[in-house]
Amino acid sequence: MASIDIANIQKSYGIHPVLHKVDLKIRDGEFVVLVGPSGCGKSTLLRMIAGLESVTAGEIRIAGKRVNELAPKDRDIAMVFQSYALYPHMSVARNMSYSLRLRKTPKERIATVVAGAAAKLGLDPLLERRPRALSGGQRQRVAMGRAIVRQPKAFLFDEPLSNLDARLREQMRAEIKKLHKDLGATSIYVTHDQIEAMTLADRIVAMNAGVVQQVGSPLDLYDRPANLFVAGFIGSPGMNFFEGTHHVGDRPRFEIAGDIGIPLDAPAPLANNAKATLGIRPEHVVLAGHGPETLLATVDLVEPTGFGIILHLSLGRAGFKAFTNDRSFLTASGTIPVHFPTHALHFFDGEGNRV
């Protein structure tokens, strides 16, 4: 196990920069998830740590040792690929033992380690099969088994669950978390799925367009998103945004299109008449009103999910969503009163940064 330091890393293909000055310190045993939309550079960063992509500038250190120029085989890391990348001409057992055989590990030791990993992953009955005779979930497990027999300094996961169906993905997600708890191995996990990021990570690194947007614990990113990108990316259904103007005075409010004023208990840390964006998570919208300033929202659509109800509402021209567990809203129509509690509001300035 080891720490991984990424200092000022940059990557360009020709003149096209794909990663801008990424700085990240990953502690020994930490589970870090790189999350972002496709093309944000998260996979490139992972592949640079693995040694599969060259480093344009900056330094990567594994366990304190600079690895920029080291071949992948000398970095002592294991990687689980999205495609599993199992060797089709080898049995499950030989797939798992390939790295050990390359290292000329004694036969008895290989047998013990492979048997141990197979038991851990429930692969015992499949050891003599070829990958083509396995289901998607089993192949995924073999790929994990291949990684854990090594006891490497770190595990890298490149969207390992993307090819599985929803139910299996949920199951494997839990297994990965359990495995990390058991092994305590430093892990870097790339995904575009924010649920995977939220559930697995000790720390999330949210990336967009080659730039790290925010680094923090899952709840940090959820409760205090650093900018509009993170606010919109984390959470499902996503955060609602309203563009408008901030007004201070004896009745502070946030005015959105159509002269609709969202009342605030206290002014936000923004100048008077400043243009800004207000954000609120669907589950924080209160579907009740009190007093003369109550907002009336039009019900556009009701989506029951079983777990709760997603209401598609609109205030003037601005559409937004609210989430509730109250089943009486299944039949909601016309207009209903809504309230935006000030403590649940997020404000973002003209550049999209949190204020």
Binding site: A85, P88, L102
Partner: protein
């Protein structure tokens, strides 16, 4: 519906049968003439099978002609060409498939360009090159010439097979602790066996049946390959069809054996299960 399906199946089989008959008829005729004794060859008219078959032509070809020498020469030339070309094409095909390097575009263009010349045009220059090197009238010279002609196409063939193997596999091997060359040898090469078999077969048959260059570069029976040797059955005043056909039948044997040997690798699907799907 069932009647229609049955009819379609029958029609399908009949079409295949017709095609096979058409494709194999020349081979059948070769065999028929080879077993027809000389006295019946011109006297019986056109018949599907002679009234009396004999192996006398085979006996003559094997015991009294230079055919065994031609046969041996052809085997040496075609075998060596196939092996050398396949090794070169595997390495260069892998490079073209996996590496980005300067001048790659021009290299590929140049290789394509070599395929655009009619070979007849090159006979004189090649003779001029090989002659001072003492490589005319030598099997080595032939192997070199055949290798040069076959490498470009074989390289493209191998490249397409390498392109079909996911890059993830060798990356996984490299992370598992292999160098790029070990990953190539232990992971990629075994998965490319169908491609290697196809390339071997293609080059072997191309060299086996090549006439033009062996005719031009080889003189005399000692170094003649089999296609040139066949011409020795044509004399000034007559063609010994029976012996020629018998030699032809014998020449088919190694090609058939060769394909029998590699056919199981020609069947694709070895990569199934490597990655998703």
């Amino acid at each position: 519906m069932r009647a229609k399906a049955a009819f379609l199946t029958v029609a399908h089989r009949l079409a295949i049968l017709a095609y096979i008959a058409f494709a194999l008829f020349p081979l059948f005729w070769l065999l028929k003439v080879a077993v027809t004794p000389n006295d019946l060859l011109y006297s019986e008219g056109i018949r599907l099978w002679p009234s009396r078959a004999s192996l006398e032509h085979f006996d003559f070809v094997l015991r009294h002609s230079a055919f065994p020498v031609f046969f041996r020469n052809s085997l040496i030339v075609s075998g060596s060409t196939a092996i050398v070309v396949t090794i070169l094409a595997s390495l260069s095909g892998y490079a073209l498939s996996r590496f980005r390097f300067r001048g790659k575009y021009w290299l590929v263009t140049l290789m394509l360009l070599t395929q655009m010349f009619p070979l007849v045009m090159l006979v004189a220059p090649i003779f001029k090159i090989l002659s001072p090197l003492g490589l005319t009238n030598s099997l080595t010279g032939l192997v070199i010439v055949y290798t040069a002609f076959n490498v470009p196409f074989a390289t493209f063939l191998m490249q397409s097979f390498f392109d079909g193997i996911p890059k993830d596999l060798e990356e996984a091997a490299m992370i598992d602790g292999a160098t790029q060359f070990v990953a190539f040898r232990q992971i990629i090469l075994p998965l490319t066996l169908p491609g290697i078999a196809a390339t071997l077969g293609f080059v072997f048959t191309a060299a086996w049946s090549e006439l033009l260059f062996s005719l031009m570069l080889i003189s005399g029976n000692e170094q003649a390959t089999f296609p040139v040797g066949l011409l020795s059955f044509v004399s000034k005043f007559s063609v010994d069809f029976g012996q020629m056909m018998a030699a032809g039948v014998l020449a088919l044997i190694p090609a058939c054996l060769f394909f029998l040997l590699i056919q199981r690798y020609l069947v694709q699907g070895l990569t199934a299960g490597a990655v998703k799907g």
